[in-house]
């Protein structure tokens, strides 16, 4: 009894400054509530967050759009001249969009093509492999926690470290060629072959990010009630049908999250590829973000306006893709409710 009252008193003592603070805050908030009304208080509480969002997201977005309408090599807006949609026109000047070399900005269209194929292949493979891994890790394996950690470990690495590790493995005098040489196989220049390099960037990015998506899918799998599987087993349902009829539909919300995240991340691919291949050989692994970076910041006579225009287009593509996926998700939810 005495212990409880002592704890209570100690708790009251510790909470006293908090209570005092709340009372002080209460005074202006009541005044605000009188003006804004109870309904308006939600907006008041959201305001600080919206302010940060506005300063760090919306404002740069607007400034970026303004940049895309200006020309010259200067960085300060005051030193740049307004040229309207000329940068966009330059990006779209093409006789055949499927042949980048027929375009004025051939590097942009090469990057668009590379990014398109990268996104298609990488996202499909990533989701497939993440799902298979999650299904395996969801079973009663020996040392299951160890395997989960093994698959998640690359996610913890910095993209630059990922790029460097794989560069040391794949370069001419790298670990892979050393291993092949031990088996009497002639070493190969993996990072100077256009096709192999493209495959390498897909493989490395899957290796680096798969752990996160596996974890999300694993969480989804563990949330599926076990009795559904038990009922299916009692009915003698085949495993493939169980997967199609129980696992996949119940995993759909998690899969949607994974698809959205993987897609956005794939379109934005930059750091590990920049370290691993530098966009080469030639431009075979030049992706959109690298094109934007090099056009705006790294090339001789930088063109921030052109880079801004390309990034606005990339942003639009991402918004459209996300909206399509959210639409598909909402349709799925409605179907589920029916």
């Amino acid at each position: 009894m005495s212990t409880t009252s002592l704890t209570d008193r100690l708790g009251s003592l510790l909470m006293a400054p908090v209570h005092l603070l709340m009372r002080i805050i209460d005074i202006p908030l009541r005044a605000v509530q009188k003006t804004a009304g109870i309904g308006g208080m939600a907006a008041v509480f959201l305001a600080p967050n919206m302010l940060i969002f506005g300063i760090f997201v919306l404002l740069p977005l607007v400034i970026n759009f303004v940049y895309s309408m200006t020309g010259g090599t200067a960085f300060f807006l005051s030193e740049r001249n307004f040229i309207g949609a000329e940068q966009y026109q330059r990006l779209f000047t093409c006789t055949n969009y499927l042949d980048p070399m027929s375009c004025q900005e051939d590097a942009f269209w090469t990057a668009v093509g590379n990014t398109f194929w990268f996104v298609i292949l990488q996202v499909a493979l990533m989701i497939g492999l993440s799902l298979i891994t999650a299904l395996i890790l969801n079973r009663d394996l020996a040392a299951r926690s160890f395997w989960r950690a093994v698959f998640f470990f690359p996610v913890l690495l910095s993209p630059v470290v990922v790029g460097l590790i794989w560069k040391w493995i794949l370069q001419r005098q790298g670990l892979l060629n050393f291993g092949l040489y031990q088996f009497g196989i002639e070493p190969y220049t993996w990072l100077t072959d256009r096709n192999w390099t493209f495959i390498a960037t897909i493989g490395v990015s899957i290796w680096a990010h798969m752990g996160l998506y596996t974890l999300i899918l694993l969480a989804g799998l563990q949330a599926i009630p076990k009795d559904l599987y038990e009922a299916a087993e009692m009915d003698g349902t085949k495993p493939a049908r169980v997967f199609r009829r129980i696992t996949l539909p119940l995993l759909a919300p998690n899969l949607l999250v994974v698809v959205v995240l993987a897609l956005i991340k794939a379109v934005q691919i930059f750091d590990e590829v920049y370290v691993l291949t530098g966009g080469g050989p030639g431009t075979s692994t030049l992706y959109l973000t690298q094109y934007i970076y090099e056009t705006g910041f790294a090339s001789t006579l930088r063109n921030p306006g052109l880079a801004a225009a390309a990034s606005i287009l990339m942003g639009l593509v991402l918004v459209v893709l996300t909206l399509i996926q959210l639409g598909i998700g909402q349709r799925g939810e409605k179907k589920g409710k029916r």
Binding site: T73, F76, R172, T277, G278, P281, T283, L301, R302
Partner: protein, 422 residues
Amino acid sequence: MKTKSLLAGAALALLMSTAAHAGDVRIMWYSDGVEGDVMKDLVGRFMKENPGINVILDNVAYSVIKDQLPVQLEAANGPDIARVTAIKDLSRHWLDLRPLVKDAKYWDDNFGAQADWMRPDGSKQISGFMTQITLTGGYANKTLFDQAGVPLPGPKATWEEWAAASKKVKDSQKLPFAMAIDRSGHRLTAPLLSYGANYVGKDGKPAPLDKGAKDFLTKFVGWVGEGSFAKDVWVSAAGSTYRAAAEDFINGQLAFYYSGSWQVANLTTKIGNSFDWVATGSPCGPAACTGMPGGAALVAVKYTKNPKDVAAVMDWFAQEKIVKEFSERTLFLPGHKGVVDKGGLDFKTDNAFAKAALTKYVEASKTTADTALKLPGWRWSDTVYAAVVTRVGQTLAGELKLDDAFTRIDADIAQKVKDSGL
């Protein structure tokens, strides 16, 4: 009374912190060889002699100087002093030290020959001084040539003769490649000029690629195709990204490596006694046997908050005795007329190859073509270099045909000139 004391204390702290910042001079520095260590030592000595100025030496990678510093400068930021190679291209960002240095005549007399390289066209400002004068040139792995029984081509040997001899060494010694040249427009310009190329048009702006340039580029692409020249270094990046092939030479994987005088200290340190090497100068073409001059300059940045302290630092490092010591310890060719005229540089190395290489570069500088001497001070050099590297890289990767590459190089340069608004 208590409030007054608190306010006074706060004001004093503020004043003290401001005073500490007033004497700060930040130098952004990169190293090819041992010059970072030498500079660190010299900075220490400067601060002992000038206790009121705190010099902060930021040793960064060359890519930071090449890619990040220009962006900082465009945003009116950056260090107070920087060691740079794009000295003309960025010249609008340099501080005019003329009214700030102790003796402007000393600067004009000793650094005047390269002053135009680092100031805007038509200006008379003193922007800084060359920490080293460089010249592009070749290095041969003499041990590999000897083992293959192939004699080293003579001083007037052509690019074709070097390619043929190196190929024999490659085949005999089972090397991955015979020759390599850095992925750099500056490096590639030397053989282009030897083949008679001229980048500068009559109006001072870039001219379309001429026969000389096309001739060497055609040969170069052919040599890479047949495996004489290393492909890796050229296709290992997109765009105008710089890549050096020094590591392949150091690892004994190349018979011939074309780079420049700044590699002497690097090769001396890293090769040691592993094999014998010689500097060969620049192979000849039909028009000349020229290397490309250049170098790195220490320049003051005009966005500095402490111009007087910056000038004091620059004055100290530009002293004849300091330039001489820096050159001797780094194995760099000095850009100070007094030091060059007096001669007697005692390069601090016991390595016979390094000493011979430095002598070779001094000799080779006498055959530098006039066009080559003008290019470091030409506004559009870096623009041409970037376009050539980008498109040749794509050609070597199999993305472009050579004729298309030529068309693209001309178009890229024309577009950049248009973008600049000049």
